[in-house]
C-alpha cells in the first residue's frame, strides 16, 4: 500500500444497468494538482464514471479512496463539483445568491454574502454581476458562477463535463485558465470532453475508457490527437462488412442537393448532395454547426439558400425529409403503445379515411408489419413503448420516421446508448432503406459509427463543410480516425 498518497484512488469499480455492463472494473488514480483527461466513445462508461465520482449514483462494487480514507461520494458529495455544459443552477436568483445558496446558515434573517464569498467571486471575475439575475448572464458567466459556488463551499474535486461545447473560443480559453488555476491550488481536476485537441492541450494525462475499462493512459509524447483518436477506436471490433456497403448510384440524379445553405449563426454557404443509396455522415463536436445543419434539412431551422429533394424544392422538399432526434425523449410518445408510436407520423390516407376516421384494422396490420420489418422485439403492438429495451426503442424511433416513406432520412447519433446487436440491426435498416433509392444523412460524434455505417463523411467545423472523405476506401478504422481528426484540426485552425 502506498500510504500517504493524496488524491482519489479508484479500484475495480463496477456498475451494471440491467443486462448492460457500464463499468467492468475501473482502476484509476487521480492526483491533486494535475488535470486528468477522460476520453472514450459514447456508451463506454465515461459518463457513468463521472456520475459515480460526483455522487449522483453509487457503484455496484469496487473501492473509492479519498486521501487514504474510504470514500462514499453519494454521502460526501459536497467535496465534488461538476461543471456541466448547461450550468445546473437557479436562473431566477442573482449571481451572488447562486454562490451562496445551500450554505445560508440557520439564521432567521435573509442570508448575506460573507467576506470570503465576496473574495471568491472577485477571484473569478463575477463580482460585477453579483446582483444580476443568473439567467440574464452569458453561459460563460454562469459556468464561472458554478465554479465559484463550488470553491466557496471548499470543494476539492472538480469534474468538467464537456464544459466548453457552447462557448466561444475566447470564453473557453478563459474557462481552461480557471481550470488550471484550480489544479495549481492543489485540487483534483477531471476533464471529460469529446474535443481531443482540448485534451491534448490541457490535460497532463488522458485515460481512455472503452467497454467499461481504462484501456490506456496517455501522457507526455504519446499524448497527441492522432494517438488519442486511434485509441478510441482500436480493437473496437469495427467491421466495415457489417455495414454491407452498397453501391451508391453516383451517376443517378441526387436525392437531395442544397446550395448556398446558410443559417443565422450555425453555418453558412454550405453545399451538400446525396445520391440514391448513399449514407452521408456529418462529423462534428457539439457547437460545430453539424446538428443545426441536419435539422435544417427537415425545415426545423430557418435557413436561406436552395434546397431540392427528389425534384421538389423549398418547403415541399423538406416535407420529404424525416428527422429522428438523438434523444428518444424527443421522438417517442410514452403515453402511446409501441404500435401507435410506429404510426404516429402517418396521416390520410394511410391510417385515416373518410371524415378522418381511423382505419383501425389497417393500423393494426401496419403496426404488426412494421414490428417485423424493422426488427423491433416487442411482445405485442399494444405494449407500452417505455417497456422496450433502449435498442428497441431506438428502432421504433427510426421506424416511426421511415414509416412515412421519406426520401431523405435525417438521423442524429442513431445508435447512442444502444446495445451492439441493435446497433448492427439499425445499420442494416439504414442500408436497406438507402438501397431502395433514398438517401440518409446522419450527424455523428463517433468515428466508429462513421466507419461502420457511412459511405461518405464530411467534417463540420466552425459552420463549414470539409471536403468529402470516402469512407469505403479505408481498410482500418484507425486510419479513418486519424484523417478525421486532422480535418477537425484544420477546420479549427481555419479561422
Amino acid at each position: 500500500m502506498n500510504v500517504g498518497v493524496d488524491g482519489i484512488r479508484v479500484r475495480n469499480l463496477q456498475k451494471r444497468y440491467g443486462n448492460t455492463v457500464a463499468l467492468a472494473g475501473v482502476d484509476l488514480d487521480i492526483r491533486p494538482g494535475e488535470v486528468l483527461g477522460v476520453a472514450g466513445p459514447n456508451g463506454a462508461g465515461k459518463s457513468t464514471l463521472v456520475r459515480i465520482i460526483a455522487g449522483e449514483e453509487s457503484a455496484d462494487s469496487g473501492e473509492l479512496v479519498f486521501n487514504d480514507r474510504p470514500w462514499t461520494p453519494t454521502e460526501d458529495w459536497r467535496r465534488v463539483a461538476v461543471v456541466h455544459q448547461e450550468p445546473q443552477l437557479f436562473p431566477n436568483l442573482s449571481v451572488a445568491d447562486n454562490v451562496m445558496v445551500g450554505r445560508e446558515g440557520g439564521g432567521i434573517g435573509r442570508p448575506r454574502l460573507g467576506a470570503s464569498d465576496a473574495k471568491v467571486m472577485e477571484a473569478f471575475g463575477i463580482d460585477r454581476f453579483a446582483d444580476s439575475a443568473l439567467g440574464d448572464c452569458t453561459l460563460a458567466t454562469q459556468q464561472r458562477t458554478e465554479i465559484a459556488r463550488a470553491v466557496a463551499r471548499d470543494a476539492q474535486v472538480f469534474l468538467f463535463d464537456e464544459p466548453n461545447s457552447a462557448l466561444t473560443d475566447e470564453e473557453s480559453d478563459e474557462l481552461f485558465h480557471e481550470m488550471h488555476k484550480l489544479a495549481a491550488e492543489g485540487r483534483i481536476v477531471l476533464l471529460v470532453t469529446h474535443r481531443l485537441g482540448d485534451l491534448c492541450e490541457h490535460a497532463g494525462r488522458v485515460a481512455v475508457i472503452r467497454d467499461g475499462r481504462i484501456r490506456t493512459i496517455l501522457e507526455g509524447q504519446a499524448l497527441n490527437e492522432d494517438g488519442l483518436a486511434q485509441q478510441l477506436v482500436v480493437d473496437s471490433g469495427a467491421d466495415a462488412n457489417a455495414a454491407h456497403r452498397g453501391n451508391a448510384r453516383q451517376d443517378a440524379v441526387a436525392v437531395v442537393t442544397v446550395a448556398d445553405w446558410t443559417h443565422d449563426n450555425a453555418f453558412r454557404g454550405v453545399t451538400l448532395s446525396a445520391a440514391p443509396g448513399e449514407i452521408v455522415a456529418l462529423v462534428g463536436v457539439e457547437g460545430s454547426g453539424a446538428r443545426e445543419l441536419l435539422r435544417s434539412l427537415a425545415g426545423l431551422e430557418p435557413c436561406s439558400g436552395a434546397i431540392e429533394i427528389a425534384g421538389k424544392s423549398g418547403d415541399a422538399a423538406m416535407r420529404l425529409a424525416a428527422y429522428v432526434p438523438a434523444s428518444r425523449l424527443f421522438s417517442l410518445y410514452s403515453n402511446f403503445s409501441v404500435g401507435d408510436n410506429l404510426l404516429v407520423r402517418l396521416g390520410k390516407p394511410d391510417i385515416a379515411g373518410f371524415a378522418m376516421a381511423l382505419k383501425r384494422k389497417r393500423m393494426r396490420q401496419r403496426a404488426v408489419e412494421a414490428i417485423s420489418r424493422f426488427m423491433v422485439k416487442a411482445k405485442s403492438i399494444s405494449q407500452g413503448v417505455r417497456s422496450l429495451s433502449g435498442g428497441n426503442q431506438q428502432k421504433v424511433a427510426i421506424a416511426q420516421a421511415l414509416n412515412c416513406a421519406p426520401r431523405l432520412l435525417l438521423l442524429e447519433e442513431p445508435t447512442r446508448g444502444v446495445d451492439i446487436r441493435s446497433k448492427r440491426e439499425i445499420y442494416r435498416l439504414l442500408r436497406d432503406y438507402a438501397e431502395a433509392g433514398n438517401a440518409v444523412v446522419m450527424f455523428c460524434t463517433e468515428v466508429l459509427e462513421v466507419y461502420e455505417a457511412a459511405d461518405r463523411a464530411h467534417v463540420v467545423g466552425d459552420g463549414a463543410l470539409s471536403p468529402p472523405i470516402a469512407v469505403r476506401e479505408y481498410g482500418h478504422v484507425e486510419a479513418l480516425a486519424t484523417d478525421i481528426i486532422r480535418m477537425e484540426r484544420h477546420a479549427r485552425q481555419g479561422d
Binding site: L329, N335, S337, A357
Partner: protein
Amino acid sequence: MTSADSRQTASPDASSPSLASAGQATFDLALRMGGLILAIALVAIVMLILKPRSFNVDVGISVLRAMSSVAIMSLGLTLVIVVGEIDLSFGAMYGLGANSLAVMWIVLGVPIYAALPLAIGVGALVGLFNGALVTWLRIPSFIVTLGSYNLLYGVSLWITRTSTFNPVYPPPGSEIPPAELDFFTSLTASVGAHPISLEVAWMIGLALVIGFLLHRTLFGFRLMAIGGNPVAAQLARLPVTRYKVIAFMICGMLAAAAGILDFSFIQTAQPNIGLSYTFPVFAAVIIGGASLSGGKGTVVGAMCGALLLAELQQGLALLTPGPHVQQLFLGFVTIGAVALDLALTNIRKRRAA
C-alpha cells in the same frame, strides 16, 4: 389499392400472437373505469339503503338531467387537457353563450334560428382567441384562460346590463314570436312516460360525437400524440398549432351549447350563470382519468366522472345533511380518485420490476 387491401384483410391478423395480449395502457384504463363504475354503483346502493322510497326512475332521470351541462362542458375540457393545455374560461363562456343568445334574440329581435348558431359561433371565436394567444404568443394557457374568464364575464355583464332574461316574459317593448319560443323550449322538452328532458339526449349525442372524434379519428390520435410529447410532435412536423386552436374552439362551442341548453330548460339567463361550474367540470374530467400533463383522457371517463358528481349531489340533497357535506365529498372524491390511481400504478410498477 383494392388488391392490397384484400390481401391484407385476408392475412390472419386476429390470430397473430402479437395481438393476443392486451396492452398495459388498456389495462390501466379498464382498472380506472372499473373503479369509477364501482363507485357509481356504491353510491346508488347506499342511497337505496338509506332512502328506499326516493330511489325510483324519476330520481335517476333527474340525475341525468342535472349532470348534462357539466358533462357537455367536460367533453370540451377533455380535448383541451388531452392536448396538454388548460381552459379555465368555459364556465364564463357558458354564461356568455346563454346571455349573448338572450340579448340577440330577446333584446335585438334576431330570429332564434340565426341567434342560436351565432351564439355557438361566439364560443368558437372565444376558443380561437384563447388558442391563438396560447400558440402564437406562447402565453401559458392557464394565464390566457384565467384572463378570458374575467373578460367573458365582463362582456356578459356589459351586454345584459346586469339584467335577467326570460323569453316567456320579455322586457317591455320586445316581442317573442310564439313559434320561436316553442322551438326554443322544445330543444330541451321533456318527453316520455317518465318525463326525460331532451337535454339528456343532447348530452349523449354530443358525447358520441366527441368520443368518436377523440378515440376514432386521426384528429384525436394526433391530439393524444401532441399532448403526450409536444416536442416530438413539433419535430415530426405534426400540425401542433392548428390542433391546439381547434381543441380550444370546440371547448368554447360546447360551453356555449351547454349554456344555451340550460337556458332553454330553466328559461332564465343571468350574467353570472356558469361561473360556479368551473371546478365541478374539472373534477369530472380528472376523476375520469385525464392527466393534467396531457396525452391522457377519455370521453367515457369524463362522462362517468360527471355522473358520479351529479349522483352525489342529488343523493346528498335528498339526505339533507347540510350544504357542507356536498363540498367535502367533492373534495375527497377528486383527491381520492387521483391518489388511488397513483397508488395502483405504483403497485403495478413494483410488481413488474
